[in-house]
Symmetry: C2
Subunit: 565 residues, 2 copies
């Protein structure tokens, strides 16, 4: 036989939840078999979830993962799927040194019949794999119905040499790579270019199968694809949703037949959907069904509220307006309009009586009194979080997080910060896009969103927008003293965001920034703010390490962790 | 010549503060030369500070560090110290791939005359060196006055093979290792046993020179030492303080002559001093001269206040008693006594009026109402922190941090948590020791402590104790509802701390813990609490990554960072 039908199961797993992850594999395997697949492939570390961080170091976890793979192989057999080759990621153990390994296994005829260990262990950016895994040394080729399938795991195709170079010398018919590649704006085309180079290198088509879903602070965007030997796109799965697609390899043909190619979202939709999916999955995987947040009438809280309503339905969003003596009427109206547009709960808790009660005792002035207002709001948001058992959302954006332009334990309160990685100028852009998406009836990354006909709330506001135009257009202000504007303390955002991008994302130093054309005073202001802000981002976990294992940088555990053994 | 006089400069550096670090090197080099040293050795990454985390990835920082080393070599020459061999740690660049390297350089006759790059890059526990450095491949032997000195950096001696094995084959007269080895309880003897093995391996005496001082959540304990070829201790520097000591190697002798051997602190003094030094340095390196904290009358805040007074003087400690309707009179008295004993500022801010003001609006019940009390206290502590520009201290211990038994944004408020790595049972033990140290007039790690004759405050309380006995002996309670005790929610601490040690420090799973003899119910309670508490420890930085570089696990920057270029 010279054809091989492969199912690409782009699924959303949960770290530590071996039982649920195995069930998902079984369900997709059934669907794959029903559609005549010989192989069904799942993402990197399917059974364990990914990334598992230091949970990998727990021996009971590795044992349980091993048992899960063995049990799953038997269950597949019992369910009449023994013929199917099920390729899943999991954790293994290096028999030489006992260290964990990032492993791909093949389940077939009730057994774990083959394995491959990831060779290149990324240890930059968000990755810490050299910390927890030892590296595999051998390449693996599966021969199925006479077709030679080489396998690789994620970083293996990002580095020169290693298993791909090895496979290139062995003559394979297909390269199958399973991935847990986190979302970054515009990363899709980088993956595709890279995969095209590897297809050329091994002289065969390549399947790039990616994980989908949010895990703590990462979002996996899916967007799995198949390229022909010459780089032609043969298949593309949608981004940001679970999906099962099929590709049939015919080794008698030099050109393969294309199949379904999902459309790509536009760049703003892509970012918006990534944020919504990250929040939605964080809630689901940590047992939250609703959220609460302060609604100031400003753009940050408005965008976060819209994302939250799209993630869990407006009826599960508790918005709290907490006006002070410095809040403008416009701000209060904008907050109310927003909540109405989203179908969210809306409550007004004026902070003035509370502020006066504190001031009777504390007599604070200046920034201390400004922070007090923000902290009273933080207390109210957390009271709602506790009493309604909903997740508190922090509404800070990347510009203010970078500069420390927020009150710690005040507006920075929250268990999850949906827009913490969006610069302020991007916040405005995405908010405008969200309004446009509504009026044009555009879908949003397959999500069931507020305002769309099939949306959770089905509301179409009379104003024709979700986010009040005033929230987008007015000059940003913390409203903590009369007439305050962000621009009193920070450069204008259009400039600030450029400096921040150069300083943070491109690691430019002072001299580089001045050479970039930014004026000295702006550069010095921004550098001073950014360098100091790390202090705010790292409260409480900071304290001296005394024992062999302290909390903090010693132990790197996933927040989402369903493992209980 | 067959003798070589070496100065061991055990100094405290600051990450990013190239100028100050270079000045300290110059000052110690002068003292070393005045006492006829030929070589003066400094700790790992002396010029840059250590650990520098992702600051290593900034090109301007590497350039500035390089310039600093070159300038320092010239300054030493100009100051008449050109003859001296000055061994310092710094950052280098790998010319093949542009990656940073963890480098040792030798300054002599106005030049950087030799270099060695760390071979083994630790990437476990608190270490992330594989992430930021590339590994050196060559060993280096310095020949000075005919004496062959092999060099190594920290982890190089912790792993088998590598540069030490290489040096063993080359015949050296002395092994000099420069270190940034963080403190852990009881680690001193492990280092010494290891060094003895390496001395035997290279068949020569070994100098183990360690950094001292606090850097973010690490404390470096110093305790540098020299061992003879047979492992005999020849020199030991004191722990927890800067120090310059000397050792003269005579290659004509098979046994070297011992010199100063500093006494070791007792185990409780060691832990206490580590916590005080960590706090003291965190304050100094981040520009704080005072602290504030809530004084509940309980043991945690009492011990933290004592540490703070020992770190910065009682007159720089602002203690705030914040009684509620549930606070016992005993608690209020204990808080007042403690502040008096420490010579600390003491203020009473009843929270009942504030609590009533919130409840008029919020009508909270149960745990939500308990958390409200703790959060009102958090607001007051932060108000003091802001208005007096002092560091807020969190008083949580490791047992409650592990179990999440605290109110986020409430008692967990603070920029630094001095006892976050002490289990509750250890808190009691250390508090008792601190009282005993006072009454016996014992020194504390060379620190100028409250109550000692030469102490900063010079107070000897009439009670004969610093920490009120009642704070140590009463049953622990959060006092957030009538008659509340910690034991209502947690196993007794004597048991809890054992389970926590087994679960956290030894990574025992559920089955292991039951095999350890703990009952199932306790095991399940503790595992559930601990697994959930990660959520509390990781607030706000958590949110979806959208760009190539987000805050959170992407960028790992030191909090203390004085670099401004």
């Amino acid at each position: 036989m010279s054809t091989l039908r492969i199912a690409l199961a782009q699924i959303d797993t949960c770290v530590g939840n071996l039982v649920t992850n195995a069930s998902t594999v079984l369900a997709y395997a059934k669907r794959a078999a029903a559609d005549h697949a010989r192989i069904v492939a799942f993402p990197e570390m399917t059974l364990t979830g990914y990334p598992i961080e230091d949970l990998a170091l727990r021996a009971t976890f590795r044992q349980a993962a091993w048992d899960t793979a063995a049990d799953l192989a038997q269950t597949l057999q019992q369910e009449g799927l023994g013929d199917l080759y099920v390729v899943v990621g999991t954790i293994g153990t290096d028999h030489d040194n006992g260290k964990p390994r990032n492993r791909l296994v093949v389940l077939h005829e009730g057994q774990v019949v083959a394995g491959y260990d990831k060779h290149f262990l990324p240890n930059y950016g968000v990755f810490d794999e050299f910390r927890i895994f030892s590296a595999g040394e051998r390449s693996t080729v599966l021969t199925i119905d006479g077709v030679r399938v080489g396998v690789a795991i994620c970083e293996d195709i990002w580095q020169e040499g290693g298993p791909v170079a090895d496979l290139a010398g062995q003559g394979i018919d297909l390269l199958l790579t399973i991935n847990g590649s986190p979302y970054e704006e515009g990363k899709g085309h980088i993956r595709q270019e890279l995969a095209a180079r590897r297809a050329a290198e091994v002289n065969a088509p390549i399947i790039y199968l990616n994980q989908v879903g949010g895990q703590d602070d990462l979002v996996f965007d899916g967007g799995s694809f198949v390229l022909d030997t010459d780089g032609t796109l043969l298949e593309r799965s949608p981004m940001f949703m679970e999906n099962l697609s099929f590709f049939t390899l015919d080794t008698n043909q030099t050109r393969q037949t294309p199949t379904t190619i999902a459309a790509l979202p536009d760049p703003d939709e892509e970012v918006y959907t990534a944020c919504v999916l990250g929040l939605k999955d964080y809630m689901a995987k940590n047992g939250f069904t609703g959220v609460t947040l302060g609604l100031s009438g400003g753009i940050d809280s408005a965008l976060v509220a819209a994302m939250a309503a799209d993630a869990c339905g407006g009826e599960n969003v508790w918005g709290i307006s907490m006006p002070s003596m410095y809040s403008s009427d416009g701000s209060k109206d904008d907050a109310a309009d927003l909540a109405h547009n989203l179908g969210a709960h809306y409550e007004v808790q004026p902070i003035e009586p509370l502020f006066m009660a504190f001031q009777d005792q504390l007599h604070l002035e200046g920034v201390s009194a400004e922070n007090l207002q923000a902290r009273i709001r933080g207390v109210i948001v957390m009271a709602t979080s506790n009493s309604k058992n909903v997740l508190a959302l922090a509404t800070g954006n990347k510009s203010e997080l970078a500069c420390g332009y927020s009150t710690i334990y005040g507006d920075a309160v929250g268990g999850y910060a949906p827009i913490k990685d969006l610069f302020k100028t991007k916040v405005w852009q995405i908010a405008r896009w969200r309004n446009k998406a509504l009026t044009q009836g555009m879908g949003i990354g397959g999500l069931n969103v507020v305002g769309n006909e099939d949306g959770a709330s089905g509301i179409m506001p009379a104003s024709g927008v979700i986010i009040p135009v005033n929230s987008i257009e007015k000059a940003p202000s913390a409203e903590l003293r009369p007439g305050q504007k962000d621009s009193d303390s920070l450069p204008e955002y259009a400039l600030l965001d450029q400096v921040l991008a150069a300083y943070i994302e491109h690691a430019h130093g002072r001299a580089d920034l001045i050479a970039d054309g930014f004026d000295e005073q702006t550069v010095d202001t921004v550098m001073r703010l950014v360098d100091r802000a790390e202090w705010k981002r790292r409260q409480y976990p900071l304290g001296p390490k005394v024992s062999a294992l302290a909390f903090g940088r010693d132990r790197r555990l996933p927040v989402t962790n369903a493992f209980r053994e």
